[in-house]
């Protein structure tokens, strides 16, 4: 399971599979761009830097999935929800969708949030209520505000390193890394 946010790539090399093994749905209005497989293949063949950037994006998706596995498998209810909210805030901030007050639109129902965190809707409601009461978050009008980002991250054991928000390395950085590792 994954949440795709504005600007995210999805299944960029899915054409390598004969059959799709999952589905994709929209939780809000969105502009979706479909790139033909031939275009992707052509881009990757002709531009190695673009190919590396696409590989980088897939690696970040995998890192995020690892965190989500850890979330549902090992973290408590409060940690799960705190971790997910912290992650969404960082990812949305990268594309400029978090305002100065730390608020962002979260078009999720409590049932969807419950499914994502592997909890019941009842317990998801309670967990959100606890975060609100402890002044860590505020909710209303389809928006969520993180009042205490550090506090929320601490509860969730959230370390944003896995999101690699600096983006893929430019040529110079990559060369420097390769030289270092030799």
């Amino acid at each position: 399971m994954a949440y795709l946010l504005p600007g995210d790539l999805c299944d960029i090399q899915i054409f390598l599979f004969e059959k799709m093994d999952h589905s994709i749905g929209l939780l809000s209005d969105a502009e979706v761009v479909k790139i033909p497989a031939t275009e992707i293949l052509d881009l990757m063949d002709r531009f190695p830097r673009i190919e590396r950037a696409l590989m980088w994006a897939t690696l970040v998706d995998e890192a995020t999935l690892r965190e989500w596995l850890l979330n549902v498998g090992q973290r408590s209810a409060l940690q799960r929800v705190s971790h997910l909210i912290s992650e969404l805030c960082v990812r949305l901030a990268v594309v400029g969708l978090v305002d100065m007050a730390g608020a962002f639109t979260l078009p999720l129902t409590q049932t969807e949030l419950a499914d994502t965190t592997g909890m019941t809707t009842v317990h998801t409601n309670r967990t959100l209520q606890r975060l609100r009461k402890d002044n860590l978050i505020a909710t209303g009008h389809g928006r969520l505000t993180i009042l205490d980002p550090q506090g929320l991250a601490e509860i969730g054991g959230f370390n944003p390193a896995y999101l690699h928000t600096d983006g893929p390395p430019v040529e110079q950085q990559l060369r420097a890394r390769l030289t270092q590792s030799m």
Binding site: T120, T121, V122, N125, R126, L128, Q129, R130
Partner: protein
């Protein structure tokens, strides 16, 4: 019995079938439940293979019945076990 959910949901019923623990129910009293306020939920159920457990039940009897028919194969008579907590 009281239950600690860190919310206003503090009323719980422990279900014992012939002395065997088969589940815990709670009343959704907190305002965070919106339209489900006043309904009942299964906190945990033992010996039940069926997933998912329905999110809410209109009454504790319905929730108790749901667990016991699946856990021990008989309907549960909650009788007057619903506690009045203040």
């Amino acid at each position: 019995m009281r239950i600690n959910t860190h919310t206003a949901d503090n009323k719980a019923i422990v279900l014992l079938a012939d002395g065997v623990l088969i589940g815990v129910l709670s009343e959704l009293q907190d305002e965070c439940h919106g339209d489900d306020q006043g309904k009942w939920a299964i906190e945990t159920a033992f010996g039940v293979q069926e997933e998912p457990i329905p999110a809410t039940f209109a009454s504790p009897s319905e929730a108790a019945d749901w667990i016991s028919t699946r856990s021990v194969g008989v309907a549960f008579d909650l009788g007057d076990q619903v506690p009045e907590l203040r």
